[in-house]
Amino acid sequence: MHLLRLLFATALVGILAGPSASEPPAPVVTGEVVGMARESARAWADDARLIYVENDADVDEQGRSSRWGFLFWSRQRDAARAYSMSDGEILLATDPGIDLPALPLTGDWIDSDEILSRAEDEGGRDYRLEHAGNVQSMVLVRGIFHEEHPERTTWTVVYSSRDFPSLWVVLDATSGDLVRRWEG
């Protein structure tokens, strides 16, 4: 009878899990998945600090993506850990082999939907319409793109087009103000 129960449970897993695996995760903003990513990182290292966020899948017009990548750094371990998160699920946990000694992100950053809206207002929308472009990447990091105040966290929205140089829009992640913008 034990064997019967085991077979039944396994079959149930197969029935319920099979169709779900083929459906793409629902797009979410970063705030919906960052909590689980932090918990996972703390299970890996007590002093894990979030230093980088990026969309792992395409971003829609509302600034949501089905997967977001989170990079953590632990000083104790002297190592980094990357998590690719979908809605409520860890799709990937890996040692990324990346050495990026960035400072931890400040905790009050604007979420991806609102920041994309601001990027659109700062030239992103015009770029998309004029050059048939789209949002390639949304990157949240501290200390790289803000030359005047490298201590501040920034969102960088990169628009790309097949026939035109990319548009980079850097926004202050706390205030949403435009920091700089360039094509290249």
Binding site: A9, Y83, I98, P104, I144, E147
Partner: protein, 268 residues
């Protein structure tokens, strides 16, 4: 609605428990049932595009790292915890600043004292140095004089003076007296031969002796038979070192001259 992982686990638990409860063949003494769950774990290849993460970071790793390094080298980004200063903290900071100021003041005052002490020492040194210079000059002069004297007295001395007197003198001249500046007197008694030479206008030797090669002065006098002394004249000469200086006093010429001994001096 797609079932999520935790929900799926709970469902399995429920169903497995339900199956166990409905099993009427299970004996009361059957061992405790162990729930089993299928957990799928896949080892992903890093090149798997479906689940690759941080693509932008990987693609621009060099650029991002370079930017970060540049900013970190230009500005020192220091991470730390900030908190408001308490009153105690402010008081301690103020005390610290006051201590530092006092320490600097003390150091300056000490430096000024040291400088004044040094200047005073330097002035004293200069005075001492001057006195030492004078003493040294005196010692040098004395040393040179001693060396000359030593050479004069220890070395081979051949400085000599021979003194002659040419007459005529008064008939009753019994002695010639020669006195040097030290007060030493030479009494030269004129014997019969000497008296006759002088009477006839010839010369007679008064003395022939070694002398110091320095300025010499003699007082030449005649002593008559009664012992009366009459100065003939004063002789000043500077004999040449290591030479014989011959001096002939011309008594008649001296008498006719208004002042001073009349002499003839030659050297050998």
């Amino acid at each position: 609605m797609r079932a999520t992982g935790p929900t799926l686990v709970l469902l399995l638990l429920f169903l497995s428990t339900a199956v166990a409860a409905s099993d009427g063949d299970a004996p009361e003494t059957e061992p405790e049932m162990i729930e089993r769950f299928e957990v799928e774990r896949r080892e992903r290849d890093s090149d798997d595009d479906e689940l690759q993460t941080l693509r932008f970071l990987r693609a621009n790793r060099a650029y991002l790292r370079a930017e970060l390094d540049r900013l970190l080298s230009e500005r020192r980004l220091v991470e730390g915890d900030a908190r408001a200063l308490s009153d105690r903290d402010r008081a301690l900071l103020a005390h610290g600043a006051a201590l530092a100021a006092d320490r600097d003041t003390l150091a300056r005052a000490q430096g000024e004292l040291d400088r004044q002490e040094l200047m005073r020492s330097v002035s004293e040194l200069v005075d001492h140095e001057g006195a030492l210079d004078e003493i040294e000059a005196l010692l040098r002069a004395q040393s040179e004089r001693l060396a000359r004297l030593e050479a004069d007295y220890v070395g081979r001395q051949e400085t000599a003076v021979a003194l002659f007197l040419r007459g005529p003198l008064a008939e009753d001249t019994a002695e010639i007296l020669v006195e040097d500046p030290r007060g030493d007197r030479r009494r030269i008694a004129l014997d019969h031969q000497a008296r006759r030479s002088l009477r006839e206008g010839a010369s007679t030797q008064l003395f022939h002796d070694f002398v110091e090669p320095r300025p010499l002065e003699y007082v030449v006098s005649r002593v008559d038979e009664e012992g009366e002394i009459e100065e003939i004249g004063r002789l000043s000469l500077r004999p040449t070192r290591d030479r014989l200086t011959l001096v002939e006093i011309d008594a008649p010429a001296t008498r006719e001259a208004e002042a001073g001994l009349q002499t003839v001096i030659w050297e050998r």
